[in-house]
Symmetry: none
Subunit: 425 residues, 2 copies
């Protein structure tokens, strides 16, 4: 079954609120085997909403509308839907009694304006809102001679109320209508390789890709996620197909794939450190604290993260890390020897198993001919020795910081994998 | 002028990515006097995108399309737009040369797949992407006999690249096309006060607000932005009205307002430190590097930012900051004495004029009855003494980190203002 998501509210169009409702609903539908094919935001405008509802009914099986069910004059959703279906709004005393009881339970008096929340378009069934006042509304039936049934769901825009109604009532009903779910997805995360190189490495996939197997590339700050989608007449068939394709992709990409699903580079690295009983310390110049920030975004990171230093300016590098004044003078702060000494210095200073460092020119100023903006040296040090990497990044300050953090986390991950190989050999 | 926002990508429909691009563009258009009337997300599907482009051209003056400009097979935007306009894609060698040069500058070889990024629909002008490979594309002209000009803008989906192209090229052009702006806006930023307290403080604004003056509250991680909008028959009239309202609001709020427009708390604080010839050092526990990260996001911050330490775990606090083992034992790491000693310690250690510290329980674990998740102590130290603040934050790990950073930056700002008063007195 296909679906249109329709989100109603001026505040979304002017960017005052980000449309997290549509993302949440889209994810839930996909997880339950339904496919959202279009997501539309319109303002609080009667004709505009009615127009989108009609268009959605013409082109998709299900329409999920959120927002515009409140008691104020700019809440137009029910009226618009009634207009689109050519039905009337009917007032139901029992719904108003229910809303009034909810207010009283919270020790508040219901405002007269709430009366409109007890109006329901003909043919719709009210869905009890366990956590708010406005009921959800459900319609399933034929529409203007389009083939098959149409489902229309109206939900409040308050995320918590919308989610509760979806989870408790709407999704179970949709799954029942849909029958056996037949779309499955998996996302693999890669680091250290760009989108186009990745595509080239995967080679000609025409033997794989079809209307039953799809692959999408989702790049973001040095990480490229691969989304694999498989379709089947049954869930088991779709899962089998997905498993085969995933095995093929993983076989080609090897450890360029660092994780899947909700995992991040920092969370995967954290798990690797815990597994090996190692600790990590950071010494940052150009990343300015963002590397430590990414590491400490992972709950429980205090187990393996010893801490870090942010060294801006040479005196701080000397004072905190005992980076040699000679190296600073001879090679400059953005250089291989300084990156190496920073990683070694912070490792020793904080008594960590591993030190990682980043020193570079984030921009916009500070570039020279030999070391243009985007020049970054990363350092890695453990008990066996040290290793450095030079990057030449394309971005401005923000982007260069983010790309450096991804590269530094990936450097430590790859060094850990190499240690494993040495131990295994 | 009215606009349709069209965002292309399967990942948005299945909720893997939240559509922050549309929110950002909607806000920018509103700020520049254009009105987004519909925001649509469609998947990576040629016919679907072409269909939406045609619909947008029929109903609005401007279409801003983001996403689907990459080099892989699922990037269909240019083809779809060409189809909607009934034109061909043409390959331009000079664009490919430009893309190749960008790869080479980063020391990488361009993949063969990137060739398609040099294809342009006839009638479109490439817009140089200063921070990525895929150029933006611009069309302005008549379309299938609809009255007036139509503008089509194609932008990459990578937020940073999209934003840079919008800011540097697209918005200035749209403003010029729009003609004499009769809508003017200004955004004032406040910190240290919540949305509802702010509304209460501003009192009854019915004398001010009308269809010619509007006020919106935009809260975000401890900062509430006030967007003032004024309308007029001429730009001068609108500006006059805006000026009067701004003076009224500033008079009531005083130094709760820390900046305006593109300024951030970190950039305002940076300017204050430069003006006073002071330097700053950070000592972070619960914020894990994010405070230093925010400070170093400001270009030129190396002038006043001495550096920082991220101290996770008590041994690091003792080793790097000489925080007393007694204080740690007696009061715990999340306590007033430790916050104070951290601020004093980092100030001394890095030879900075001012030290600022944050120690707390970001969550999800680590809370106790006396110190639940969200308990944070901030410390401030300068040559005259020290000052601490206790926060009780409501969020999860991410939110608590962000709120702590805002509060810490604002603490330093307010202390600097107090110093000024003392000097003035």
């Amino acid at each position: 079954m296909t679906a249109t998501l329709l989100t109603v509210g001026d505040e979304l169009l002017i960017g005052q609120v980000v449309n997290t409702n549509a993302a949440w609903i889209g994810e839930q539908l996909a997880t339950h085997g339904l496919q959202a094919v279009r997501s539309v935001v319109v303002g609080d405008d009667l004709a505009g909403v009615a127009d989108e509802v009609r268009r959605a009914l013409r082109t998709t099986d299900v329409v999920v509308v959120t927002g515009g069910l409140g008691p104020t004059h700019d809440d137009v959703t029910k009226q618009a839907v009634a207009e689109a279906l050519g039905v009337k709004l009917r007032f139901h005393e029992y719904i108003l009694d229910d809303i009034r009881a909810k207010f009283e339970k919270r020790g508040r008096t219901m405002a007269a304006a709430n009366r409109v929340q007890a109006e329901v378009p003909e043919g719709f069934e009210p869905l009890t809102n366990a956590v708010g006042t406005a009921p959800g509304l459900w319609f399933a039936g034929p529409w203007e001679g389009v083939a098959g049934e149409r489902v229309i769901v109206l939900l409040p825009g308050v995320p918590y109320e919308m989610q509760t109604l979806m989870r408790d009532i709407v999704l179970p009903r949709l799954v029942e209508l849909q029958g056996e779910a037949a779309v499955v997805q998996k996302t693999l995360h890669t680091a250290g390789i760009g989108e186009s190189d990745l595509a080239e490495k995967l080679g000609d996939l025409t033997g794989w890709l079809s209307d039953r197997i799809k692959l999408a590339f989702l790049p973001s700050y040095g990480v490229v996620r691969l989304r694999l989608t498989a379709f089947g007449d049954t869930r088991a068939e779709a899962l089998g197909r997905l498993g085969e394709f995933e095995a093929y992709v993983r076989d080609i990409l090897g450890d360029l794939v660092f994780g899947e699903g909700d995992e991040t580079l920092a969370s995967v690295l954290g798990a690797m450190l815990v597994e090996r009983g190692l600790t990590l310390a950071t010494a940052e110049s150009c990343t300015g604290g963002r590397l430590a920030d990414a590491i400490t975004d992972v709950p429980g990171s205090s187990v393996y993260f010893s801490g870090g230093v942010v060294v801006y300016g040479n005196p701080t590098k000397e004072a905190l890390l005992e980076v040699g004044a000679d190296a600073l003078r001879a090679h400059g702060a953005v250089s291989e020897p300084v990156a190496r000494q920073m990683a070694e210095g912070v490792r020793q200073r904080l008594g960590a198993s591993i030190g990682v460092s980043a020193t570079g020119i984030a921009g916009p100023g500070g570039g020279t001919r030999d070391k243009p903006v985007g020049t970054v040296w990363l350092g890695y040090a453990d008990e066996a020795g040290s290793h450095t990497v030079r990057l030449q990044l394309p971005g401005d300050r923000q982007l260069n910081k983010r790309l450096s953090v991804t590269a530094a986390l990936n450097l430590v991950r790859r060094q850990l994998l190499q240690r494993d190989e040495l131990v295994g050999a």
